[in-house]
């Protein structure tokens, strides 16, 4: 790995503590990823990006800022990247997926807060994430009580912009979200000093739709009987898509898909025949949270789909490209960013259950695992309907609750192992 220490220092990071993370990551990545057999060659690009996750892309952001550009950090897939991109800013995901940052978050937050929120705050306050140092503005949203209150604490140290996501999907709620996106556009224009033109916004919509289409194309290979790529690898690519340059990752995903097409022609599978196919649903899995995929796939299952924010909710539907005025395009963004995402923050949310059933069929899942990050109340409670409706539909389902630590791995192995055995008998 190249040496990024001077960049990290200039970003005001706690380099010594951050080094601990840098030391741990290659081992973990090696165990989970590089140990896989028969990986597609085009995974090399994504391996490189992970190996240099806190170097390569941050260096590009530093360069962008040197030229007067701005960086906007976001936490949630309800917040449209098209807006900052159309204003000439770079939108990026933020660190939130490792236990490494959790103790830092617990200095400010109750222990009974979800690990994703704790990790986010820890990464910022402990100064151990370059993306959290680089962003000029952080866009929070009130999708749950934990986030809503955590942003207040975060705002003591960071420039926060909060978007008010409605919790129902009535016409007046769409109208409200439409206004919020208009407000976000104005905010991004202020931040960058650039006026957004219809051409800019149309270009941004096209750019990000291309990324979605590439991810959709990638997902389509998981519907095959012979699956040419592991679930773990697709998860990794999805996670990287939150950080990487959109045009570049689109190309890289398409390049990988060309290779997968060849594999598909030759019926190449990375899994043995008869491997049980698992659909994951529930709370997000941010990088480097590969825990469940790793457990499932080392126990002899295959993850074929994630009905998650780090999954189909992120890429399944494209934004309508037919708008010509800013207003029209924002209406289309509203449709996509509210209407097409079925987060448990909405009530009621039966579209999510419909999605799980539809996806289970499309991806020929043998069973569904409903994953809940500890202390995520909304997904935990919604699990009641997930389980009941899947039971009714005759789809086996297992609910598991976990966090970022490794101390429940053996218990998870027993539950997931038993579930796979049950599907096999």
């Amino acid at each position: 790995m190249a040496d990024y220490h001077s960049m990290w220092e200039s970003l005001g990071m706690d380099v010594k503590t951050h080094d601990l993370l840098c030391e741990a990551l290659p081992g973990a990545f090696g165990d989970v990823y590089l140990s896989q057999e028969n990986r597609p060659e085009s995974m090399d690009y994504f391996n490189l990006v992970v190996a240099e996750i806190h170097g390569l892309r941050p260096a590009e952001l530093v360069e962008h800022k040197k030229n007067g550009g701005k960086v906007v950090g976001t936490f949630c897939i309800h917040v449209p990247d098209e807006i900052p991109v159309s204003a000439g800013a770079i939108a990026t995901g933020l660190c939130s997926g490792s236990q490494f940052w959790v103790p830092g978050g617990e200095k400010k937050l109750p222990a009974a807060t979800c690990p994703l929120i704790k990790a986010s705050l820890g990464a910022r306050f402990d100064r151990t994430c370059p993306f959290f140092r680089l962003a000029d503005m952080f866009v929070g949203e009130n999708t749950c009580d934990g986030k809503k209150k955590a942003w207040e604490i975060l705002s003591e140290d960071a420039e926060m912009y909060i978007m008010d996501i409605p919790q129902m999907k009535r016409p007046e709620d769409y109208a409200h979200w439409n206004e919020e996106i208009h407000g976000y556009l104005k905010k991004c224009e202020e931040l960058t000093g650039n006026k957004v033109t219809p051409a800019n916004l149309r270009a941004a919509i096209k750019l990000l739709n291309l990324k979605r289409k590439a991810l959709q194309r990638l997902a389509s290979f998981r519907k095959l009987e012979n699956i040419p790529i592991s679930g773990k690898d697709v998860l990794l690519i999805t996670q990287i898509a939150f950080y990487d340059d959109p045009a570049r990752i689109t190309n890289q995903i398409n390049k990988l898909c060309d290779e997968l097409e060849e594999r598909a022609k030759n019926n190449v599978s990375v899994f043995p025949k008869g491997t049980k196919r698992i659909l994951l649903t529930g709370t997000p899995l941010s990088i480097p949270n590969w825990k469940l995929h790793h457990i499932i796939e080392t126990l002899g299952g295959a993850v074929v789909c994630e009905e998650m924010c780090t999954g189909v909710r992120y890429y399944e539907k494209c934004v309508d490209e037919s708008g010509s005025t800013i207003d029209e395009m924002i209406s289309h963004l509203t449709e996509r960013y509210m209407g097409a995402i079925h987060c448990a923050c909405f009530t009621p949310n039966h579209e999510r259950i419909d999605d799980i059933k539809r996806l289970a069929e499309e991806y020929k899942a043998d069973g569904v695992i409903d994953v809940n990050l500890k202390f995520c109340g909304i997904y935990d409670i919604e699990g009641y309907f997930v389980e009941r409706e899947l039971n009714k539909a005759g789809i086996p389902v297992l609910g598991v609750e976990t966090d970022y630590t490794d101390n429940d791995v053996e218990q998870l192995k027993t539950r997931i192992g038993a579930f796979l055995e049950m599907l096999g008998n």
Binding site: N391, P396, E401, D408, E410, Q411, T414, R415, G417, A418, E421, M422, N425
Partner: protein, 253 residues
């Protein structure tokens, strides 16, 4: 070919040797899991060999938390699959199996001998054998004494959410002079209510026939309390503590 099932749980290790026709249990072994699962596994094998069987004529399947520490096993399976199979052998093909283990409590739904669903306690040991062990220790009683105290006690309410909290609850109860009999009875009640809540989460699967496996199968008091808590006669069998090992042996190929 003979079939051996080895179930190394968090507290006790169980093993059985089953005949070629998979109908008769020839040998039963029960020992504490001890500090080292690997050593425990070794001494189980030695004991079987010392009875005159040879390794070549046996198919060995390991289960339980220590299943990964049985290097000589031909196969490993989770304890859910094995308890289901063992319970079907002992109690019939259509059952709701309750296993109160050392660190896990599980409810397994069997239809025509197949596991169709299961539910386990979450990470905390509340509602498990460990919970009762912690409570007995806290009151200076062996588990045997603990149950005979409980039988004489009055049912009081003790939390079933968290073992550590329940332990401090017990300290407070002892502090205000609550008789140990009542505390013991309350602790058993807490386990029973945990089991009942697990069962009720998947109630639609149950055909009303319940079968208890695991180390508490010979505790008449637990069975009585469970039957009261679930409002149904809970069945068990003398070999039910070996259910996991029996299932493992039967699943050997």
């Amino acid at each position: 070919m003979l079939y051996v099932g080895i179930d190394i749980g968090s507290t006790a290790a169980k093993a059985v040797l089953i005949d070629e026709s998979k109908t008769r249990i020839l040998t039963r072994i029960l020992m504490p899991s001890g500090w080292n699962s690997r050593e425990t596994a070794e001494s189980i094998l030695n004991q079987i060999l010392s009875e005159g069987y040879s390794r070549d004529e046996m198919r060995i399947t390991a289960t339980g938390y220590g299943r990964v520490s049985v290097p000589y096993a031909d196969n490993t399976l989770t304890e859910i699959t094995c308890h289901g199979k063992g319970a079907a052998f002992l109690g019939g093909d259509n059952l709701t199996v309750i296993d109160i283990g050392g660190q896990d409590t599980k409810v397994i739904f069997l239809v025509n001998g197949r596991v169709i669903d299961f539910v386990m306690n979450d990470k905390c040991s509340a509602g498990t054998g460990k919970f009762l062990e912690v409570m007995a220790n806290r009151m200076g009683l062996t588990l045997q004494e603990f149950f005979s105290f409980a039988e004489r006690g009055r049912d009081i309410k003790i939390s079933s959410m968290c073992t550590v909290f329940a332990e401090s609850e017990i300290v407070s109860l002892m502090g205000i002079g609550t008789p140990r009999e009542d505390i013991a009875c309350g602790a058993v009640g807490s386990v029973v209510s945990k089991v009942a809540s697990l069962v009720s989460r998947k109630n639609s699967h149950s055909n009303g026939k319940f079968f208890l496996t695991g180390g508490f199968c010979d505790s008449a008091f637990i069975i009585k309390k469970l039957s009261e808590g679930l409002n149904v006669e809970v069945q068990t069998a003398p070999d039910a503590r070996y259910a996991g090992a029996i299932g493992a042996a039967l699943l050997g190929k």
